[in-house]
């Protein structure tokens, strides 16, 4: 049985995520089939691109109403994490509504170029399941122009001219604003933690 179902929402660059799962000895496949997703032990919602395009694709695949009803561990990565929220300023897009907040664009601040691209420190909450064993000097790789605010859903924060949510969680839904598949040992730990969730 496939360990991880990756939602085929049309973004480029699924390869690096699949290779990271391979390195962890986990099988994965791309799917856009609702029943397939419901049966998978783990689901990852990836995403590179624009929020409006991605939501349009999820609607046209009939998945926008399915994803919020999933009960197994689900991980949104980068844009996939942002889609878990209520809405995004990017294209004024209504998202999946699992987390009650609005994703907003980084303001123009001197010394903080947008897009935010590069390695930054991630500071987990003590009880974060995904950040277990990460240590207190963990850096992960970010590529994004929009970010989710800090709130009750926040599992880890990163500071880039102000704090934003680097890891989020609500019930079985998890999200990483950074790219664990390209975040070296720290990223590998986070993916392994996700795969180990009950």
């Amino acid at each position: 049985m496939t360990d991880v179902a990756i939602i085929a929402n049309g973004g480029a660059n699924i390869a690096s995520l699949r290779f990271a799962l391979d390195r962890l000895g986990v099988s994965s496949r791309l799917t856009a089939d609702a029943d397939d997703l419901r049966r998978a032990p783990r689901v990852i919602l990836p995403g590179v691109g624009a929020a409006a395009d991605a939501m349009e694709r999820l609607h046209s695949l009939g998945l926008a109403s399915v994803i919020p009803t999933l009960t197994q561990p689900v991980l949104g990565i980068c844009l996939g994490m942002q889609l878990l929220f209520e809405c995004s300023e990017e294209g004024d897009t209504e998202c999946l509504g699992i987390l009650p907040a609005r994703v907003t664009r980084f303001p123009d601040r001197h010394g903080y170029p947008v897009p935010h691209m590069g390695w930054n420190q991630v500071v987990p909450r003590p009880d974060s399941a995904l950040a277990r064993g990460l240590g207190d000097d963990a850096y992960v790789y970010f590529v994004h122009s929009y970010a989710a605010p800090v709130g009750p859903w926040t599992d880890a924060v990163t500071d880039y001219g102000g704090e934003f949510s680097a890891l989020v969680r609500h019930a079985n839904f998890h999200g990483a604003q950074f790219h664990p598949e390209r975040s070296s040992r720290a990223g590998q730990r986070i993916l392994a933690n996700f795969l180990a969730l009950a």
């Binding site: 290779f19 990271a20 391979d22 170029p113 850096y139 070296s184």
Partner: protein, 238 residues
């Protein structure tokens, strides 16, 4: 800190071995740079990209011979994070818009080869081939502004006079570009000592520093450099 520039005359086995080594040593990004692709009007061989992507767990960028959206798509689908365009963007600036529209600015790096000419800076092209390398007569600062407007998400400024001579990054030029560059700016060309890295972060405010020969030749070990930079209060992954 960015990794390394490879030339494709190295066999793939060497590239995989070096890539894995730099990755294990703590390089934050690798740039695979085929400097002969544009002058010879051919594309990079894509087969190695997937092999590299399987072993790397850090971001990597592929540069060289990406002339169309289809070229870029192939590279990204093979597992690269970013594509870098240089000569093809000079020939067809609309390519930058097309790439940014299709893949998002975060994927689109514009490489610029630049030199001091008189009291300004000019963009050069076909710099991989000494016989064809020439000034485009474009002013570097104008080109930096233009590619940002067109959607470039990162700029790698290769200061040619500094490249390979290890006398330090071209701080004056990098400062000038930094003052008008609102996307991440990566310094390239001139790294010879660990102090050169510390200086370019402190004085030119760049977001990354790319180097090749000091790493390839073993003059600087990446773990030592990172320890040094952290002691100098450069925010960098340990």
């Amino acid at each position: 800190m960015k990794g390394v520039r490879f030339r494709d005359h190295q066999v793939v086995g060497d590239i995989l071995e070096l890539a894995a080594r730099y990755c294990a040593e703590g390089a934050d990004e690798l740039v695979f740079y085929d400097i002969t692709a544009s002058p010879e009007n051919r594309s990079v061989d894509r087969s190695w990209i997937t092999r590299v992507a399987r072993v790397l767990d850090i971001p990597f960028c592929v540069a060289g011979g990406i002339r169309t959206v289809a070229d870029a798509e192939e590279v990204l689908n093979s597992g690269a994070e970013k594509i870098s365009v240089n000569s093809p963007a000079l020939a067809d600036p609309g390519l930058v818009n097309a790439l940014a529209r299709r893949f998002g600015s975060q994927c689109v790096v514009v490489g610029i080869d630049s030199q001091t000419v008189g009291d300004g800076f000019e963009v050069y092209q076909f710099t991989g081939d000494p016989d064809r390398s020439c000034s485009t007569r474009r002013r570097t600062l104008d080109w930096v502004r233009e590619v940002q407007d067109r959607g470039a998400g990162e700029i790698v400024l290769n200061c040619m006079a500094s490249d390979g001579v290890r006398q330090g990054y071209d701080l004056r030029q990098l400062q000038a570009v930094r003052s008008i560059c609102h996307v991440p700016l990566i310094a390239s060309g001139g790294a010879g000592t660990m102090e050169h890295f510390a200086t370019v972060f402190a004085e030119a405010g760049v977001d990354g520093a790319l180097a090749a020969s000091v790493f390839h030749g073993g003059a600087i070990a990446i773990p030592d450099l990172k320890t040094y930079l952290r002691a100098r209060r450069v925010e960098i992954r340990p």
